[in-house]
Symmetry: C2
Subunit: 220 residues, 2 copies
């Protein structure tokens, strides 16, 4: 039985990796739909989000079945509970990618982000891509160097999120654009925050210690 159990546990780990790859693709495509005002691509991202949700539901069912059938204890139990939480974070990251595309669709054919802020938002999106790619590697290898990379990228993302709010305060944008800038910046910041949440859970499983000191102050 232990062998079947370990295979099931490994499958859950592989499912998490696959979901994180789907989320990475969703973010890359959502960003392109947003920055290029590509409404067809936006529609695809929006409808594809259901696949991420389905994969999360399947992973959760697998994890609950494993809890029921195998009654794992100690570290195996914590791995399964952590997997349930990580799948919830990844699913939420998928939702945030969808929100980017929904914003693109709402404003189409107008672009959402005004040209002077495009470079800033592209960099924020790049940071999120770096975060989700590091999450995928971290889930694959459990190498905590990737956790450090995630925290570094998130610190930079927080700075940029604050700088966006600073530049918005200077004004000059229409009310719709001001709202869009604020919300898109928030979506990108939240995306990274969920990536940090996944990284902290992996680090906890690897080290057995909850490193609260690594907590970055989350943006309001």
């Amino acid at each position: 039985m232990r062998t079947v159990f370990q295979a099931e546990l490994q499958q859950i780990g592989e499912d998490l990796v696959e979901i994180s790859e789907l989320v990475r693709t969703a973010l890359a495509r959502a960003s392109e739909s947003l920055f290029e005002a590509d409404v067809e691509l936006a529609e695809e991202v929006i409808s594809d989000d259901a696949r991420i949700d389905l994969r999360q539901t399947q992973l959760d069912e697998r994890a609950i079945d494993l809890l029921a059938l195998q009654a794992p204890v100690a570290s195996d139990l914590r791995r399964i509970v952590a997997a349930l939480r990580m799948s919830a974070s990844l699913e939420r990251m998928g939702d945030l990618a969808r929100h980017l595309s929904q914003t693109a669709r709402l404003r189409y054919p107008e672009p959402v982000i005004p040209e002077p802020l495009l470079a800033t938002f592209r960099e924020m999106s790049e940071l999120d891509l770096r975060i989700v790619e590091a999450v995928t590697r971290l889930l694959t290898t459990q190498d905590l160097a990737d956790a450090d990379a995630i925290h570094t990228a998130k610190a930079r993302l927080n700075e940029m999120h604050a700088s966006v709010f600073g530049s918005v305060a200077e004004g000059g944008w229409s009310p719709e654009t001001t709202v869009d800038i604020a919300l898109v910046s928030r979506y990108l910041e939240r995306f990274g925050d969920h990536g940090v949440a996944v990284a902290r859970k992996v680090a906890y499983l690897v080290t057995g210690e909850w490193d609260a000191g690594r907590d970055l102050p989350s943006a309001p």
Copy 2:
């Protein structure tokens, strides 16, 4: 052992009720700090959020211990897994109340919400209070009438969230105020959304059916 188990399971249920009460208090006080520009109250809400986080951590540890020691199956297992998820939703609702107070603190001594929109935001806050109060009752009684009340309140909250964006688009507010209005409206909408998530989990435990049809389209 089963008696100890049932007592532990009941304790987890009571913990959820208590956390939902703390969240209700947090939202009421956060709303007052926001609408009355009361920075001392805002500071209290912000520091009290750590208590909600602590209660969530304690509940989660209790739930994981119960999984490890008692190896529950079937409906008991699902109740414990659902409790872990509901505690995460409640903790997030506490965070959103904190964000309201952080916004109040950021703009102090200026009010965050301009006078013409105050009635709208008060009503949104009232809807959220109604939602979290219904969540508390639902967790206490498992009476699904409260789930219906939550869905009704959330539908109204979604309408108001959309109307806020409509009135913001008409302009006339400073860029800071426009951003604040957008984010505060979003925080209030998200708060209600997490309340709906808790309600759906309780309904699932009671009926054994996941009522996806009750899903409201979530705001982007």
